[in-house]
Amino acid sequence: MTRDDQVSIAIPTGALLNGALSLLAASGLARLTAEELGRQLLLERGEVRVILVRPSDVPAYVDHGAADLGIVGKDILWETPGSHYELVDLRFGDCRLVLAVPDSSTVDGPDTWPPLMRVATKYPRTSSAWFEARGQAVEVVRLHGSVELAPQVGLVDGIVDLTATGRTLRENKLRITAVLGSSTARLIANQASLKTRSSAVQSVLSRLREASGRAG
């Protein structure tokens, strides 16, 4: 099988990995375990090449055409719009992007927001757009990890972060005051792959689509 009729799929490490592997198995395209993929990062199985990358790197691989298809959380796509096609809601990896403040904070609904809201987040683009749409001045502090810590040490009024169960927030004495959006895993495709390698890509695409429909 040559590179030409093989379809490459970028899948993310982290929370969506198991869902992505189940989907690949259910579609009959590839049976892979997280362990073997973790060792190899790139595996070829018949008509597909599976590439394991960091979640936020999936759009880059797909937009540049290094992967024909990608599985990625909608939350990542909010931050990195690109030239890819977003084709299927895969209906796993449910989580919400929320605004959370310390339990002790007086901040609650929009009328209690301070004149200039300071929030810490890994989602600066989405956060700014959301507050701006509500006429709220906001100063976004971009952090790369342990966002929950920021309000506790007085860096910010609140955080905008992703949560599935809300447990981490509760453990850090934070409460949710608003939901900015809901995210699930999405199937994205390179714009040129859909055209230049249409039949191979469309065939893999429809098997993944069908498998995700059965699971959901």
Partner: protein
Amino acid sequence: VTPQLGGVPGFRDLLPLEAEILREAQESLLAEMRRWGYRHVITPLVENMDVLDLGLGIEQRRRLFKFTDGRGDVVALVGERTVPVARLVAGKLRAAALPLRLCYAGPVLSTDEGRFQQRRETYQVGAELVGASGPVADAEVIALAARCMEATGIRRYQIDVGHAEFFHGIMDAVKLPDEVKSAVRAALAARDFVALESLLEGTPLKSAEHELLLRFPALRGGPEILAAAGGLVRNRRSEAALSELAQVRDLLVAHGIGDVVNLDLGAIRDFDYYTGVIFEGYGPDFGRPVAQGGRYDSLLSRFGRPAPATGFMVQLDLVSEMLTRSARPPALPRIDAAVAWTGSGLDTALRLGSTLRLFGMRAVVDTESRGVAEAKAWWHAVGAANLIHCRSKAVVSWSTQGQRTRSLPPEQVAARLAGGLS
């Protein structure tokens, strides 16, 4: 303070090999366009903002480098070159009879660092056919685009042809409230089919057009796709688009490029700008289109000279990148002769250099006097095929790889090199 030797972020220096590939590609493109009777025009890098406002959308305008000139006019560095050509056709070329065939080449600038390689300056070569409407003109421009891709040396390319009116007809026909329609347009522009699906799911009125919108990315193939889509649309605009596409496709077969053409009814482009047949050219294993174009019949009227028009541009940077990465990447042409000298040999060296160049060879004459050993070192540094060391008027010594050095009169060396002898 150390100066920023890397230049301004987003602006690239092209080193000799890259510059050579880019220039070669540009010349092949312009040469192909001239073969089809397109005349080369050069428009300035700077345009008045009020001119650009007429042709560009809000987003494109936002990304322009703008400043004021001494008179207080707001001017901008061009972000594309079709609007300047339209200005030319409606202005200085107003008296020229239509149709006009024009081509251009040059850099375009954007304040945004693009998603790819963070480039703010890229190079475009384009052709515009102004004053001709209908499938014959559409097919000419598409065939020209295909031959242009071929002319640069790209093997295995394809052209996807669609029609803006097919989309407009569908949007007219779907029964949706205006605010949902604009959300549908936004979702399509963002290529977000998950959002599109949920927008359409929420509406009670289902139609065939509804179904077509959802299948947009898959509405692609050979001529059979036209019949399939024809069975689904129930509106005149889309039907007219399909029959025009069928004609264009037949003409492209006659142009001899039927095998590289696909029909793509789901092509997503700037639908506010394009009014008819649209197309994109793709090269092998490259994540984005190399050439883009289509019919834009409403632009010229905004400049006061209503005329139908179609055209395309090729992203020159992408072409040269493809060539660089191809199986046999182009190499920098070799310097033919390094001409060194010492003592009274300078005059001979300068004359020999002129003679060799007259024969079309690349010759570098040394700027300082060197002995035999130093001259050889300099020869290797220059990377030339031959070394000619001039020590007197009568005889020079000629070295070439794999042969012993010979002493000959300079005219004989020139004659042998020019004749391709060693």
